[in-house]
Structure formats: C-alpha cells, structure tokens
C-alpha cells in the first residue's frame, strides 16, 4: 500500500508541507485566500532540533491504537488501510491524541479533531508530498 514516508536525511525544515496540507484541506482554490492571516492547523508537522528536521504525519498503522481508544467509533480504518475520521461521530474527547505514539492527531481552533487522511479527498497524491521541495516526503509503497 502507498504511504507517506519521511526521509529525515532530506528534510530541510522549510515547513512547506504544513502550509500545503493546510491549503489542501481548506477546501479553497487559492492558497492566499485559504491561509492569509490564518493560524494554520496542518495534519503534518515538522519537528526540529538544531540541524535535525523531519515531518511527522499519521502512519496509518497496521493496528492503529488510536482506533482502539476511540470512544465514539469516529476513527475508522478503510479497506485501503487509510485511517479516517468521521466528524459526525467524533465527540472531541481526544483519546486518540493521548494514544497516538507519533503525536499526529491535532485539533483546529474549533476543537475539531484533525488527522492526515492521505488526501484521499483531495486528489491522488498527498499535498505534503507534492509540495515537498526535496523529496523528503514521498508517497511510496511500503510493506505492511
């Protein structure tokens, strides 16, 4: 299955993935309109320490512990292995946030729980991958 993988070696810490993610999930056609004067809440985030940089987003684990802990059944793993969230069911308890070992579940200013859904609703290739200037984030087949 194709997954987003992050190659720390090539991550420049430019944070473009965060902006591309926020834009892709904004539902708007123009990045300026989508992100201008906004505090962005991307589903991918860059962690850094001096010269170490890397982006982190949902790993779509084989056996996702976030789903095990979800008290509302909002988190689901589809047949394609993509872990998605059903906002109609989510009650915002953040158990998933407590459980995700990668710190990949976040919320926006309305406390809506957000997570990477591999841009399944946005197009073929995840926006973070498409926008990564150095192929640090790639969309590739991984062994599951």
């Amino acid at each position: 299955m194709k997954r987003v993988t992050v190659h720390e070696e090539w991550c420049l810490g430019c944070h473009l993935c965060e902006y591309n993610c926020a834009f892709a999930n904004s539902g708007l056609a123009d990045m300026v309109k989508a992100l201008k004067n906004q505090k962005i809440t991307p589903r991918i985030h860059v962690e850094e320490d001096g010269r170490i940089h890397y982006a982190v987003s949902c790993r779509h684990c084989e056996d996702p512990i976030c789903i095990k802990g979800c008290i509302s059944g909002a988190l689901q793993k589809g047949a394609d292995g993509v872990v998605t969230i059903d906002h109609d069911k989510c009650v915002g308890c953040l158990s998933c946030m407590l459980l995700c070992p990668y710190g990949c579940i976040t919320t926006d200013e309305n406390e809506t729980v957000l997570k990477c859904e591999l841009c399944v609703k946005n197009g073929d290739i995840p926006a973070c991958v498409q926008g990564c200037p150095n192929r640090a984030i790639v969309f590739e087949e991984v062994q599951t």
Binding site: E9, W10, L12, G13, C14, H15, L16, Y19, N20, F23, M31, V32, L35, K36, N37, Q38, R51, G131, P133, N134, R135, A136
Partner: protein, 501 residues
C-alpha cells in the same frame, strides 16, 4: 561609511497581499536576506545580501516573491559602465582581487549560434529515429594505425584502452570541495545510468564513489590533491589538467572554509587549509615533461587507462594540441573560454582564452593535416549548452563534449555566479551540511538523466534529419554545417561554408 556603500544589484519585490508569512524564504536564504518581524507581522528584506539565486522565489508557495534588477542606477556612461564603476568601488573598499564564478558572462560572439545544420531533402532520405536504429555510442582513445593478423589470418582485436560512452557527452571536471557530496553523487549515479562518465575534478574521489569507477574520470591537477595509486586505478580514465577555460594559466583555488573533514580526507590535506593549486604543474615546464607524466601515469596503471590531457583553449591551441597528440596522450580535452568555475579572478575569467568553436575547428584540422587525428580523441567543453551545440561540435570534429554548467543547471543552479561564497542555496557549490542536503541526489540523478535523455533524443532527431544514423558519421562532417553572419576568416577557421553556398 557611506563611501563603502555598494548599490545592491537586486531588489526583492514582495507581493504583500500574497505573502502568507510562512517564512519559507527566511528559512531558505543562506544569505540572510529575509527576516520576519513578529511585532509588525511583516517580512523584511536586506537586499544588499541578495545574489539573485532565486531559491526563495522558487520555494515561495504563493508566488509572492520576485527578484528584480535594481533600477536604482548610477548616471549612464557608455564607457564607465555601472558594473565597471562598482568593481572599482569594491576594489577600493577591499584592496582585493575580484572573484567570481561560473563562465564568462560578457557579450563575446557565441559561434554555436552562428552555425546552422543541414537536413536531407529529396536526394537523400531523412531517417526517422522512432522507426530506425539511431546510434550514439562512441569510443574515446587512441586508434591503432595498422591491422595485425595472427597466423590464421584472424585480426588481432586488441585495442589501446578506450572509454566507451553511450552518447558523446560527459560531465566535466568539478571537484568535491568546489561542489557538494550530493552534487557528486548525482553526477556519478547519473553517469552510471546514462552509460557515460563524470569527472572527479582535482579534489580526489570520495570513498563512497569508488563504486562508480567505470563511469568516473579521475583528474590529476597541479595540486595533486587526493592522488594515490587506488585513485588512479579507480576510474575509466585519468585526466591531466593542464588548464581550465575559465582561468587559463592559473590553478584551482578552494578556500579553507570549504575544506571540512570529509573534503580534507578526500583531498588528503589538513582540515580548513586553503587548497591552492600551483599555476603550472611544477614537473611540467615543456611538452616532453608532459610526455613523462603521461607515461608515468600509464606505468602506474599498467597501460589499462586512457590518459586525457585537458587544456584551456588559448591562442596557439592547434600547435599545443598537436604536441599533446604526440605526447602519448589518448584524449585531448579542450576547454573554451566560456567554461565555468567555482571561483576565478573576474579579470581572468572575462578576458583570457578563446572560443571553443574556433579552437575545436583549428585543432581538428591541424591533427588531420598532420595525419595524427587517429592518435587521439577530442573532447570539447566550455559552454556546450544544448543538443544542437553538441551536434555542431561533433560535426566540427569533436569525438565528445564535456558539459558542466548545463549539468549544474539541471541540478538546480540558477547561475547566480557566487559559488565562491560557499553559500549555495541550491546545495551544489557548498559544503555546509544544512545546504548540501538541499540537493537530494535522487532528484539530482533523475534530472541529469532527464536532461541527457532529452538531449539524446534531440541529437538523434537531428542526426536523422541529416540522414545519418550513427554518430561517427557525423564526426568531422563539416559539410553538414553552414555559417551565418560570419566573415571569411571565421568561416575559414571553422572550415565551413556560408549559408547559401
């Protein structure tokens, strides 16, 4: 002091409506041009530091940035051009030799652009490369004069060592040190994928790249950096660098700041020391000395490696080449005055040497007149910019071309011509690990392979339209060329007729 102020060359134009304050420009500019001011929530720019490398422009996700030529100008003077004046200011400020990099940017004639290619019409069919085989393989090296047969009449097929190339293009010498590890890796892996060679330059060969040996030309320059037995044996050929088109008559210069641990190990010099190659090889003061070095290298490698002698295109290049062809060298590489460099004194870069087109034509003719063209292969470089430049070079008589600036452009270089600063924002001409990682060699390799695959297609198209289906039938085939807007003398040197003739 106001008197020190140098008018910035560029202006940063930021479309504030489009800017979303993502600060990518700030993070990506190694020169420190951009800065976010949280108090006013504004992005600020310091234009005095901008070199117009376009990194910020290319990464800005909202296309909010433009780098423009600064239109603030000194008073127009056709004799004292603005740049001339600014250079005087800089020298008055510093007392130093002006340094620059990449190739001669001055408006000298580009002969490639004054030569046109023939095509078949009626009397001879053009050949369709999509439907017929079209061959671009070449062998570089000395060709024997006589056929020998054994007792059974079978031909002895032993050849002097050759370089086999799938297309007549190689990546020219760029040292590890002047360019980054990732740039070298891109070149090495692309050369391997393309079936061609890249050239180590004078900085030795990083231990990681010995595995690409059969696609590597190892260089021996006047500084002898990184030269030892394993190195000489590592590659497909050995190149003696006598000169370089960008700075004929002077040696390479790598500032100590670029000599980190890895470069130091590869070059076999102390960390942080300036790597300054002597202007001449101090064991070569004449052609017979060159012959000695050629044969020393052959002895050292048991005559298994062709030896290339690389010279800058200078005034009496034909005679020099003739001498080299008799020195035991297998290949002569000639570098024209527009060739690039990682650092050269500006005056030298812009005023020394001759165009490669004329040098090539003169050398090929001289070697043929003397009947020694088979002694050597000819490789030319110094601003080969496109597939048509390659076709023209081959038709003028070259066996293959060296490209470097074109390759760097493919790797992301935007020709800002400030390699000497070591702060290449594209991760090419730098040793700063944070900048080096900006060139992902996977991408680099892919782009180089793309570039030369495209050129190969174009070369085949052009060969096909000339009715030629193998590159060797193009070599020296000057009838396929015509000049436009060239005077009698230029046509005579190029050995071509004028269009319409």
């Amino acid at each position: 002091m106001p008197i020190n102020f140098i008018l910035p060359e560029f202006e940063v134009e930021r479309n504030d409506y489009r800017c979303i304050r993502c600060r990518v420009c700030e993070r990506q500019c190694a020169n420190g041009v951009h800065r976010y001011d949280p108090d006013g929530d504004v992005m600020l720019s310091d234009e005095t530091k901008c070199v117009d490398c376009q990194r910020c422009v290319c990464l800005c996700p909202t296309r909010a940035l433009k780098i423009k030529k600064n239109d603030a100008a000194l008073r127009t003077n056709a004799n004292w051009k603005q740049n001339t004046i600014l250079e005087i200011y800089k020298q008055a400020n510093t007392g130093g030799v002006l340094l620059s990099s990449m190739g001669n940017p001055e408006p000298f004639p580009v002969y490639w652009d004054k030569i046109l290619i023939n095509a078949s019409q009626v009397t001879n069919p053009s050949i369709d490369p999509l439907r017929e085989p079209m061959e671009t393989r070449v062998f570089l090296g000395k060709k024997p004069h006589d056929i020998e047969r054994d007792a059974n009449g079978e031909i002895n097929t032993e050849l002097p060592p050759q370089i086999e190339l799938e297309l007549p293009i190689m990546f020219s010498a760029m040292s590890y040190g002047s360019i980054s590890y990732n740039a070298h890796k891109s070149l090495a892996t692309a050369a391997e994928a393309l079936g061609i060679c890249y050239n180590t330059g004078e900085g030795g060969l990083h231990e990681d790249f010995y595995q690409y040996g059969k696609n590597t030309i190892v260089q021996v320059a006047s500084g002898r950096f990184g030269v030892y037995k394993d190195y000489l044996e590592a590659g497909a050929a050995i190149e003696i660098k006598m000169g370089q088109g960008a700075k004929p008559g002077i040696g390479g210069h790598l500032p100590g700041t670029k000599v980190g641990a890895d470069v130091s190990k590869t070059r076999m010099i102390p960390e942080g020391s300036d790597a300054i190659s002597p202007a001449p090889h101090h064991d070569i003061y004449s052609i017979e000395d060159l012959r000695q070095l050629v044969f020393s290298l052959k002895e050292a490698t048991e005559y298994q490696k062709p030896v290339i002698v690389k010279v800058a295109a200078v005034h009496n290049i034909a005679a020099i080449a003739s001498g080299i062809a008799r020195s035991g060298a297998d290949i002569i590489a000639i570098d024209g005055f527009r060739g690039g460099t990682g650092a050269a004194p500006t005056r030298i870069r812009d005023n020394v040497g001759i165009p490669i087109e004329l040098a090539l034509a003169a050398v090929d003719k001289r070697l043929r007149d003397e009947g020694i063209r088979q002694n050597v292969s000819l490789v030319v470089g110094g601003s080969v910019r496109s597939a048509s430049d390659v076709v023209k070079a081959i038709a003028l008589g070259a066996d293959a071309c060296y490209i470097a600036t074109s390759a760097l452009l493919a790797l992301g270089c935007h020709l800002c011509r400030t390699c000497q600063s070591g702060k290449c924002n594209w991760g090419i001409a730098t040793q700063d690990p944070e900048l080096v990682k900006r060139l992902n060699p996977e991408t680099g390799k892919e782009r180089l392979v793309n570039l030369l695959t495209a050129w190969k297609h174009e070369i085949k198209e052009m060969m096909g339209l000339m009715g030629i289906n193998s590159i060797e039938a193009l070599r020296g085939n000057r009838l396929m060329l015509r000049g436009v807007g060239l005077n009698e003398k230029e046509l005579e040197i190029l050995g071509i007729s004028h269009a319409g003739e």
